[in-house]
């Protein structure tokens, strides 16, 4: 058993599951976005704003944002533990990454629900 304090779920099993589920959600969201843009070639502000004013789209988008945040945390945490061996450097980079993810997530929620 290896002790962890900065990983997302504190457990390899939960991180592994979260990584796969969030990947699935992001894949569906990406396919939807690409499909929507392809089928709406003459897209204007009104249509775009209308899409994002629908409650289901806001929930779907928020789900994708949260998935992206979790996915990035798990993935970047793994990269830092592989390549950054000095503890102080590794923890510092991990904290910067986690802080950035938090800021981007809150910012995303503000963009989504604020308008």
């Amino acid at each position: 058993m290896v002790t962890n304090i900065t990983s997302f779920g504190r457990s390899g099993l939960s991180d592994w599951l979260i990584q796969r589920v969030s990947a699935l959600i992001l894949a569906v969201y990406t396919l939807f976005m690409v499909g929507y843009l392809l089928f709406n070639p003459g897209l204007d502000y009104a249509a775009w704003s209308g899409l994002f004013s629908a409650t289901w789209m806001r929930i779907f988008s928020l789900l994708a944002f949260v998935s992206l945040a979790a996915h990035a945390w798990v993935g970047l945490w793994t990269v830092t533990t592989d390549y950054l061996k000095p503890t102080a450097v590794r923890i510092a980079v991990q904290l910067v990454v986690i802080l950035a993810i938090f800021v981007f997530l809150v910012w995303g929620i503000q963009v989504l629900w604020g308008a």
Partner: protein, 234 residues
């Protein structure tokens, strides 16, 4: 003439490792790499490597031959030599003791960690603990491992975290005891493996499967451990 390039390093006399060139006359025969090493040792008896059974059973002579790990004793030249050249290096990722001999300490430490022995507190029956043929079949493809370390030392996850990631060889043995119907420590074993490193540092690139001289599949065993962890979790 076969041109062989060998990694040489004697920490007592060399400041840094270097490659030494040998010309070996195999008289056109397709011998094993270990035979070529013997011929080289006749030219320079300072060359150090491990060997014992010379027939792929003991797992002593694991090394990196033209970039791929394997057992020198059961690897014919025709399988590895390209353009009449052969490059021999020690197993990657482990500290070199001398020439092709590596310190397997970290590898054995990970093996020890998974408690590679049967754990059963039920008093043993008069004769022996019986297993059904079906339960016995579950151990096929697991018990044959000879701990040559070819798989673990070809695994980048083991290179980066040899102190935390158990590695393919250790995990194959971990599953060997998880799958054993006579073992009673399944829960304790799984609890030791659920952190982000021990099992989950495996990225499934299957280098281990590609190099295993016994044709075993550690990646499949790791997948089975994940399934067991998932089935045991809430």
């Amino acid at each position: 003439m076969l041109q062989v390039s060998v990694y040489r390093y004697n920490p007592e006399t060399d400041s840094a490792p270097y490659m030494q060139e040998f010309q070996v006359d195999t008289q056109g025969r397709d011998v094993m790499v270990l035979d070529v090493l013997h011929m080289m040792k006749e030219q320079d008896n300072g060359l150090a490597y491990r060997r014992s059974c010379r027939e792929g059973v003991c797992g002593s002579d694991g090394m990196n031959m033209n970039g791929k790990n394997g057992l020198a004793c059961i690897t014919p030249l025709s399988e590895v030599v390209k353009n009449g050249k052969l490059t021999l290096r020690p197993l990657p990722g482990l500290p070199v003791v001398r020439d092709l001999v590596v310190d397997m300490g970290l590898f054995y430490k990970q093996y020890e960690r998974i408690q590679p022995y049967l754990q059963n507190d039920t008093p043993a029956p008069a004769i022996e603990r019986l297993q059904s043929p079906e339960d016995r079949d579950k151990l096929d493809g697991l018990y044959e491992c000879i701990l040559c370390a070819c798989c673990s030392t070809s695994c980048p996850s083991f290179w980066w975290n040899p102190d935390k990631f158990v590695g393919p060889a250790g995990l194959l043995q971990a599953y060997r005891f998880l799958a054993d119907s006579r073992d009673e420590a399944t829960r304790e074993r799984l609890a030791e493996l659920e952190d982000p490193f021990s099992v989950f540092r495996c990225r499934g690139i299957m280098n281990c499967v590609s190099v295993c001289p016994k044709g075993l599949n550690p990646t499949r065993a790791i997948g089975k451990i994940r399934e067991m962890l998932l089935a045991n979790a809430t």
